[in-house]
């Protein structure tokens, strides 16, 4: 009897216990579900923020070391000396194959389209931003890899054991550029005009459009000089006949952006070099920046200033001064009369030229020089940097020290005194001005930005108005409209501080290369520009040559980074005693020349990619 009671109780529990079907089907309390996200604008915005955050930057404030790969900067950091010691660039350098990101963006776009809970206005904007991001990512791919498969919807596997329907061949290179250009044309109306600089706007769409069209145009145009950098299927290489059309598009898009009137050149500070620096530091009243990766949103900062602040001014004992702008770059800033000249270190007879003040040798140059570079004798954060390599005696010998601000006894003296600057340069002394210069661009002037606990909130500018003007100038030049090219280029140069304009007749291809090199230095342009002009294999040809004596020669071989060492002259009684002299030199860790091979124009596509998808063809010359 007892047994029966027990059985009855068990059956009762079994039948009625799980009456409530939701018992096991509960809402999670620690994650948000897809439907929940897509009915709330703020939550969708945070999904979007993640996608913005994943936009790749080859060079930027969070990866300064990539700036030292070419001839713009010397890496004064022992862990990065190898960048100046490699005999060639690997074929997979600056490569990318991120279909994970593309899939996430495709999903975002599809979800936005299907999101009925959002207001129509918000939905349109999210959709347009998703498309902008997708075009940005495809643009990143095409400039690195050439044509890539254009996947514009999320792909799903059907578990049929036959994934071949997911394999897509590479699109032609121009098809990817066309996609970016057309997409920007289509979405620009759905994006807000101005108002934000960290999210996509109509201005950002036009800036991307003009840049993409300019790249495509120059690949079509200058690709003719390197016929071997192409593939028969058009995955790499654009037919020369398309050049004019792309240049026209680039010019039109740039002029449309200029005509919007939303943006203008930054011109808030009276001192030209300060004004140029502040383009990157001033986030408030800045009409120039079109799109930037912003920091200090929710306390996010970066360590660029910690890594690059001058050693004698640093706020943290971990690092400093890691990026030294090269003499190659520094000497290519023009004199104020629009002419080029190397630094006058020796007179016609080979005797050193003496300067009263270390800054004198740099005077009379493009103010952008001191807006980009901290030269010996210049001040940063109100304090003068102490860059000098030692005392030079009358017989040419040098008295210096192996430690920063080190002391020694000078001939005829009795007490030891300082014989080298607290910022170097000293051979192999990392984190100092080892080649004689420090970087100024992007280095934060705010107190505390050089500390680990706080970090710098300077933003990374991805598109700015001056680049758009230079794009317009280049496109106009290529289309033969020299007057227009001069007009746009002079806008940038006038703001930079040049008193005299360039005439239409003075605009040459080398002028355009040069203007972009100085205006857009350390802004992630040099590699892509040199690639699309097909001059990378000429300028970085692997031959160890001396620094060119003609800085106006934009095509001169520049494979090693050079430095400039200031000395104080020591000869009591001589009129030159205590004056400054300068010497060009190659920093000791630089012992191989950069060699850009034909196979570096388009990066290597990994074996894993080609194993998974046999339709992918290899890039040429690898």
């Amino acid at each position: 009897m007892k047994k029966w009671k027990f059985i009855a109780l068990c059956s009762l529990i079994a039948f009625v216990g799980c009456d409530n079907e939701q018992f096991l089907d509960r809402e999670p309390t620690d994650i948000l579900q897809e439907e929940q996200v897509w009915e709330n604008e703020d939550l969708v915005f945070s999904v979007l923020a993640d996608l913005y955050n994943r936009l790749p930057d080859y060079q930027g404030v969070e990866n300064w070391w990539e700036y030292a790969n070419f001839d713009e900067a010397f890496a004064s950091n022992a862990g990065d000396y190898w960048r100046h010691q490699n005999q060639e660039y690997n074929y997979d350098n600056w490569g990318m194959w991120d279909y994970g990101l593309i899939r996430d963006i495709n999903l975002f776009i599809e979800k936005s389209e299907a999101a009925t809970e959002l207001s129509a206005e918000a939905r349109e904007r999210f959709l347009a931003e998703g498309k902008f991001l997708r075009a940005m990512v495809y643009f990143e791919h095409v400039k690195r890899m050439g044509g890539v498969p254009l996947i514009l919807e999320s792909l799903e596997y059907d578990y049929s054991n036959d994934p071949t329907y997911l394999q897509h061949p590479r699109a032609k290179e121009h098809e990817v550029y066309d996609y970016v250009i057309t997409e920007m044309e289509n979405i620009k109306g759905d994006l807000p005009v101005g108002g934000t600089r960290s999210r996509a706007t109509a201005g950002a769409a036009l800036a991307l459009k003009t840049r993409a069209a300019l790249y495509a145009g120059s690949i079509a145009n200058y690709g003719q000089t390197t016929p071997e950098v192409s593939l028969p299927g058009g995955e790499v290489g654009i037919p020369a006949s398309m050049a004019t059309q792309y240049y026209t598009t680039a010019l039109a898009a740039a002029e449309e952006l200029i005509g919007m009137g939303t943006y203008s050149l930054y011109n808030n500070d009276p001192v030209a070099s300060e004004n140029y620096t502040n383009i990157f530091l001033n986030k408030n009243a800045n009409p120039e920046v079109i799109l930037a990766k912003d920091f200090l949103v929710q306390g996010r900062t970066h360590g660029f200033t910690i890594d690059n602040i001058p050693r004698s001014i640093r706020e943290e004992n971990t690092s400093s001064g890691k990026m030294n702008p090269s003499l190659n770059l520094v000497q290519s800033y023009e004199l104020l009369d629009n002419s080029f000249a190397q630094f006058a270190t020796k007179d016609a007879d080979g005797n050193p030229i003496y300067y009263d003040n270390p800054m004198d040798i740099f005077s009379g140059r493009d103010p952008r020089l001191q807006g980009t570079v901290i030269v010996p004798g210049a001040s940063f954060r109100g304090k003068q940097v102490d860059i000098w390599a030692g005392y030079k005696l009358a017989d040419g010998s040098v008295i210096t020290s192996g430690e920063l601000g080190g002391q020694a006894v000078l001939p005829g003296g009795s007490a030891p005194q300082q014989v080298v600057g607290f910022d170097g340069p000293i051979n192999q002394m990392e984190w100092t001005a080892q080649n004689g210069f420090y970087l100024r661009k992007y280095v934060d002037t705010a107190i505390g930005s050089g500390q680990r606990g706080t970090g710098s909130a300077v933003w990374l500018v991805r598109f700015r108005y001056a680049e758009v003007l230079l794009n317009a100038a280049e496109a106009a030049f290529e289309l033969g409209d020299m007057a227009k090219a001069a007009e746009y280029m002079n806008l940038v140069r006038r703001r930079a501080g040049f008193p005299t304009d360039l005439s239409a007749g003075e605009i040459t291809f080398e002028r355009i290369i040069h203007e972009r090199r100085v205006e857009l230095s350390f802004e992630n342009h040099i590699l892509w520009d040199y690639k699309r002009w097909r001059i990378a294999h000429k300028v970085w040809n692997g031959v160890s040559t001396d620094l060119t004596n003609d800085p106006g020669d934009a095509l001169a071989v520049s494979t090693r980074v050079f430095g400039l060492r200031p000395y104080k002259y020591y000869e009591p009684g001589s009129p030159n005693h205590g004056k400054w002299l300068f010497e060009e030199f190659v920093p000791a860790p630089v012992f191989n020349a950069h060699r850009f091979r034909m196979g570096n124009y388009y990066s290597y596509i990994g074996d894993n990619v080609r194993n998974n998808n046999p339709l992918i063809v290899r890039n040429p010359n690898q």
Binding site: Q87, N592, R595
Partner: protein
């Protein structure tokens, strides 16, 4: 007794550690495939680490190639397991054009490796450096040579420039040279009689010899063709 047992156990343990690796490791490849890139039996000189070939072996789940670098004197060698390989010279590698393999009918060279093998790969260079004479003395290197144009049909290419390189070591090309001189292709009047000379700067530490060779860059071809390396006294 206990101590002795412990010691014996220790020695056996050590023995196991020292010998066990030969059980669970693969044997290293032992067959050598070596050879030379030649034109009519004469080796093709190239620069080191610049020209390479690919060996593919089929039958594996995933495909990946074994890279075979060509040395300065046109030789190559690779340690391999026995098997069926396919050797290809990738497009645009080397200062030459490929010749179709009679067995495969295209540029793939089938290799059935069952023992060490020595092979010559015939290619068609754009130019060959002939009657080379390099001499040195009193800090100067002089070279005289002629160039024979091998490809004269529609695929013919002009010479972009001709170099004389001098290096301290027997690796001689633009990357390592301490002195070099060049003549542009358009300035070459007579291909059968070319001479170049270059002054060699002081060597630190002192070295009374150097290595020199001629390099020819052909228009639209990345890799240069090089002569033999000659050791000269300075």
């Amino acid at each position: 007794m206990k101590e002795i047992l412990k010691n014996i156990a220790g020695v056996i343990g050590l023995g196991v550690i020292l010998t066990s690796c030969s059980y669970d490791n693969y044997e290293e490849p032992k067959l050598t495939l070596e050879g030379t890139l030649v034109y009519q039996g004469e080796p093709i000189g190239v620069s080191y680490n610049d020209v390479y070939m690919e060996l593919w072996e089929q039958g594996w789940q995933r495909l990946g190639s074994i890279s075979v670098a060509v040395d300065q004197d046109g030789t190559f060698s690779s340690q391999l397991f026995a098997g069926e390989y396919k050797l290809i010279i990738p497009g645009n590698q080397g200062p030459f054009r490929k010749i179709a393999n009679p067995e495969s009918g295209n540029d793939t060279i089938p290799i059935n490796l069952s023992g060490s093998q020595l092979m010559e790969i015939e290619v068609l260079p754009y130019y060959m450096i002939r009657s080379l004479n390099i001499s040195g003395g009193s800090d100067k290197v002089e070279a005289a040579f002629s160039l024979e144009k091998i490809i004269t049909d529609v695929n013919a290419k002009d010479i972009q420039e001709v170099f004389l390189y001098v290096s301290k070591t027997s690796f001689v090309d633009g990357r390592t040279s301490i002195a070099n001189t060049r003549i542009g292709g358009s300035d070459l009047t007579d291909l059968s009689n070319i001479s170049l000379s270059v002054n060699v700067p002081a060597r630190v530490p002192t070295q009374d010899y150097a290595f020199a060779r001629i390099g020819v860059r052909i228009q639209g071809v990345e890799d240069m063709i090089f002569s033999d390396i000659v050791k000269v006294d300075l």
